[in-house]
Amino acid sequence: MTTSAPARQPEGERVRLARTIRLERRLEVPRWLPVATTIGAIVVALVISGIILWFAGGDPIAIFVHILRSSFGSLGVLSDTLVTATPLILTGLACALAFRMRLWNIGAEGQFLMGAWGASAVLLIPIVPAGTPSIITIPLMMAAGMLAGGLYGAIPGILKAYRDVNEIIVTLMLNYIAAGWIAYWVFGPWSEAGFQLTAQFPKSAWLPRLSDFASSVPAFGGLTVHLGLIFGIVAAVVVRFLLFRSGRGYEIRLIGDSPRAARYAGINVARNTVIVFAMSGALAGLAGMSEVAGVVHRLQQAISPGYGFTAIIVAYIAKLHPYGVIIAAIAFGALILAGREIQPSGIPAMIQGIILFCLIASEVVLRYRVRIERRAA
């Protein structure tokens, strides 16, 4: 994309120097550039959002300050931010893992719901009798959540692997199906006294929180950060190890970069597709389990304000790196938390869209660089 052509000068006249700005394909990318462009993109996105907010009659600076204060201002709200971030870490990891192999898992929302269902099923079918202690119940719920999410994720995986069915549509449809599934159980067999939610889980099925230890550590009083956060951090470490230090991770990265080269190298792309989709689903399912066992303590329809979709942006901001996911998840946890109080309610979704747009637009900086040169006309 060049701009401006130098004008022709009649012979004998002084030659004028013309400046041309040219976009040139980059050969190498300096290591600091991706991080810089990500931060730059977010800044631009926030500025744009601020302008829109101003047009909508709000005071952008006040709103942003409010967001920061109500997310990080005190230990209490910080704890709330981390609680909101916990499912985002796990669903963000789910998306990051799948996207690494260019599998567009838009179904993290549905897999989250199925994980929540699976975990609830342990208590509500019931699979274990009422008085079972936590040490058995909780791991069982984790397993059930991951299994439910994993199987649900395997469905698009199998269809993609063996029939090349577009996974974007399938996972999206499965989201709606999962919502219907939950609705059936919550309105029907598991409904508590005819209301649209289930009975509250017994205490043995609650994930431990910091506030449980308030008697020994007074500072922990009222803090709702729960074990799910540990799940998220451990999962991030495991995924990082998987991606960069294991044979399976090598295969994932290779397939993601060049499926044809992967096949040439003897890698079974179809099997990896199913396995990775299942792993992705299991992570999202664990997020669902952590939410119902750690926060809501029952199964109901509204357990996710779109975690599965926000996870896509989280994964993207993190450039699909597991540790980056943790950071991005916390940032978006803050946004979601504060966003609950912002009117009108569509603003957080808009901001998310603007951020994602700015992020992908900013990638052009990684591909091209600007060259200004002076040439004789």
Partner: protein
């Protein structure tokens, strides 16, 4: 559970899917996949409805709603064609943006009262035709008739005209088209925006003709995604897309009607007896889409047909090295 009513309703709501699908076919035939259809439809719907509420003029609403969809698609075009970003992600971002923006714009619209709708028509001679008359030509919105016209016109454009030849070439082999002087960038921009206009039109059709009113995200409720699935089912052919759109909408109507009566074909209606079972009915459309995609993919593998070859791939002229 009257078949004629179901099919007529299918044709009516199917028009929404048809517009969105035809728009997406144009964009994808040019090589650009636009997953933001849901967001563009929401924007079209809210702008159309809001304009009609504010001005009392549904035609103005139609025009502005259509344009709103087109405007939003410009973003997608710029980011994927000029900035060469990943088309899939850009489309998702567009959906987020469109959804959020529509929620914001429609903040107070759910309380709005009745509005003047677009007129419905019955075509005198054709309405009397046996079987098809009552379904296609009786008491349908003008937009439905527009839909009937769109199908052959779009088909003709794509398959029998010079601009259509270029459209197809750009989606299959942009290098070939570029070498022969076809402006690949301009064509892709054009057809992405055409897709956006159609999506906006589809949204406006919902709120001004089919199910008037603003219900937040539920106004469109996944129809944008279904339209994209229909494009795959149609194997990028306009006629087949129309069949898919009408059929799917008819099935959707049938699923609603099935819940009402106390008896169904002589047996007690399970959905009447146990209302929670209707959630499974709600799943049927989505399951159906998945099944259709699986069946079509098998066909595509067997017949070795498929998407436009350059779909989803950037085109950069003068990229060195082959």
């Amino acid at each position: 559970m009257d078949l004629t009513t179901i099919l007529a309703a299918g044709v009516a709501s199917g028009t929404v899917l048809l517009f969105a699908a035809v728009g997406e076919i144009f964009a994808e035939r040019a090589g650009v996949i636009n997953l933001g259809v849901e967001g563009m439809m929401l924007i079209g719907a809210v702008v159309a409805f809001g304009t009609a509420v504010a001005t009392g003029n549904p035609w103005l609403g139609l025009a502005l709603g259509t344009m709103a969809g087109g405007l939003l698609s410009v973003l997608h075009a710029v980011i994927t064609i000029s900035f060469q970003a990943e088309q899939v992600v850009s489309g998702l971002a567009l959906t987020f943006l469109g959804t959020g923006l529509a929620r914001v714009l429609g903040e107070d619209l759910s309380k709005a009262g009745a509005i003047a709708l677009l007129p419905t028509l019955t075509i005198p001679g054709l309405a009397a035709l046996p079987v098809v008359g009552p379904i296609f030509f009786t008491d349908q919105s003008v937009l439905v008739y527009v839909g009937y016209a769109v199908v052959p016109i779009a088909w003709y454009w794509i398959n029998r005209t010079r601009p259509g030849l270029h459209l197809r070439a750009v989606g299959e082999s942009p290098t070939a088209a570029d070498t022969l002087g076809v402006d690949v960038y301009r064509l892709r921009y054009t057809y992405v925006i055409v897709g956006g206009l159609f999506a906006g039109l589809a949204g406006a059709t919902i709120t001004l003709a089919i199910s008037p009113g603003w219900f937040g995200d539920l106004t469109v409720n996944g129809q944008g995604w279904i339209a994209i699935a229909i494009v795959i089912f149609a194997q990028w052919g306009v006629g087949r897309a129309a069949v898919g759109a009408y059929a799917f909408a008819a099935i959707g109507r049938m699923l609603v009607d099935i819940q009402g009566p106390q008896e169904l074909f002589g047996f007690p209606n399970p959905f009447y007896v146990n209302h929670t079972l209707t959630f499974f009915l709600g799943m049927v459309p989505y399951i159906l889409i998945i099944v259709v995609l699986v069946v079509v993919s098998g066909e595509a593998i067997r017949k070795r047909i498929g998407a436009p070859a350059a779909l989803g791939i950037h085109y950069v002229r003068g990229e060195r090295g082959h």
